[in-house]
Subunit: 195 residues, 2 copies
DNA sequence: GCTTTTTCTTGCCAATTGGCAAGCGGGTTC
DNA sequence: GAACCCGCTTGCCAATTGGCAAGAAAAAGC
C-alpha cells in the first residue's frame, strides 16, 4: 500500500502548516486505497457519500431531472477531492451518482473517520477547509458563468481552461454540463472549428 | 444589547446538540449587534467578508460582469447567515458586494473570532458546519436550476418558493438573479398574470 | 471481418430570449 | 404643480437555442 500520493497532496495543499510525520501516518492509515475501473461508480444515487482524493483518472457526477434525463453536474480531474456535499455532511442518501470516466485511483475515507482525524490532528482541519473552499468557489463560479455567458462563451471557456474534459468525457455529457443540448453543442463546435 | 435572537438561532440550528449557557454567553460576546439601513452595505467589493447572522431584513449580493453590468448573485432572507465564502475563508478581498435591500439587523463577527469560538466551544462547530452546508447546497441547487429549467420555469419556482424576494427586491435585480434581462422578466410576468 | 449499438452531426423549422428605443407611471424635488 | 428621475412595460425584430428525425461516424460485440 503506497499512500505517498495522498500525503504529498495534503502537504501541497497546506504548504504553510507543518504536520508531523506521525500525524501524516495517522491520516494515511484512515484512508483506504481504492481503484475504480472505467464506468464503475464511486458513489451510486441512494447511497451516502464518502470522501475521496482522486490521484489518477477522471470522474463525473450526474443526476436526473424530473423527466428522467441525465444531467452531468460536475467533472472531476485528478488531484481533486471528490464528494457529494449534501449527502456527505448530512449523512443522507445522495441524489447524484459519481462515476469513473476513465480508470481511476485514489484514497477513500468516511465522514466519521475524517472527523476523528480533524479531532486528533487539528492542523489537518486546514486541509478540510481548503478542499471545501475550493469546491464551494468552483460552484459559485459555475453559477455565475451559467447566468451571464452564452452557450458559445461557456464552451469557449471550458475548452480553454479545462481541456482535459474533452479528452475524457463524451460530448453529450459535456453538453448537459454546459446546460445545452448535444445538438447545440455540435453546432457550436462546428462554428468554432471554422476559425 | 440583546443577543437573544442570535442565541435562539444557534439553538434552533443544532437542536440535537446541547450547549451550556456559559458557552452560549461566550459565543454571544464574540458577535457584535449591527443595524444596516436600507441600501447600505454589509460588505463592499474590495473588503474582506465577515460573518453575519441576519435576524431581520433582506439583503442581496451582487457583482459586475466584464462589461460592467451589475449581476445579482444572491438574495438573503432573514434567518440566514450572510458571508462571501471565498473572501471569508481565504481572507482575500471580495469581488462581491452585499447590500441591505430593506432595513436590516443582525449579529456580526470575523473569521478569527469565529475560529476561536470553534476552538473553545467544539459543539459550536456543528453550527458552522450546518450553515456551510446550507449555503453550499443552495448553490448547487441553483446551478442545477439554471442548467435545466427555462427562464419561465425559474421564475415560477422563485415566486412559489421565495415569495419574499418579490416583496423586497427590484425586478431588475430579480431578472439578473434569474439570468435574464429585465425585458424578458417583464414579458414572463405578463404571461403569468394572464393565468 | 462484419454486424449491432451508441455517439455525434446535420437540416429544417419552431420556441425562447435578447436588444433597442419609446412610453408609462409613481415618487421626489423645487 | 411642473419638471425630473427611476423602474417597469411594450412593440418590433434579430439572435440564440431547442426539438425532431435522418444519416454519418465511431465504438462495441461476436
Amino acid at each position: 500500500m503506497n499512500k505517498q500520493p495522498l500525503i504529498d497532496f495534503i502537504k501541497l495543499n497546506i504548504p504553510n502548516i507543518p504536520v508531523s510525520e506521525a500525524a501524516l501516518a495517522l491520516i494515511a492509515e484512515n484512508f483506504e486505497e481504492r481503484e475504480i475501473i472505467k464506468n464503475d461508480f464511486l458513489l451510486r444515487a441512494g447511497r451516502v457519500s464518502g470522501y475521496f482524493y482522486l490521484s489518477e483518472g477522471f470522474m463525473r457526477a450526474y443526476t436526473h431531472d424530473p423527466d428522467g434525463t441525465e444531467i452531468t453536474t460536475y467533472f472531476y480531474p485528478k488531484d481533486r477531492v471528490v464528494f457529494e456535499a449534501t449527502s456527505f455532511f448530512l449523512g443522507i442518501p445522495s441524489t447524484e451518482s459519481i462515476q469513473a470516466v476513465s480508470a481511476c485511483k485514489g484514497y477513500y475515507t468516511t465522514f466519521d473517520k475524517l472527523n476523528e482525524l480533524f479531532h486528533s490532528v487539528p492542523e489537518f482541519r486546514e486541509f478540510g477547509r481548503a478542499m471545501l473552499v475550493r469546491e464551494f468557489t468552483a460552484y459559485k463560479q459555475r453559477t455565475l458563468v451559467m447566468i451571464n455567458k452564452s452557450a458559445e462563451e461557456r464552451y469557449a471557456e471550458l475548452i480553454t481552461t479545462n481541456k482535459e474534459i474533452f479528452q475524457f468525457a463524451q460530448l453529450r455529457h459535456i453538453a448537459s454540463y454546459l446546460g445545452i443540448t448535444d445538438t447545440s453543442l455540435s453546432r457550436i463546435r462546428r462554428e468554432f472549428s471554422k476559425k
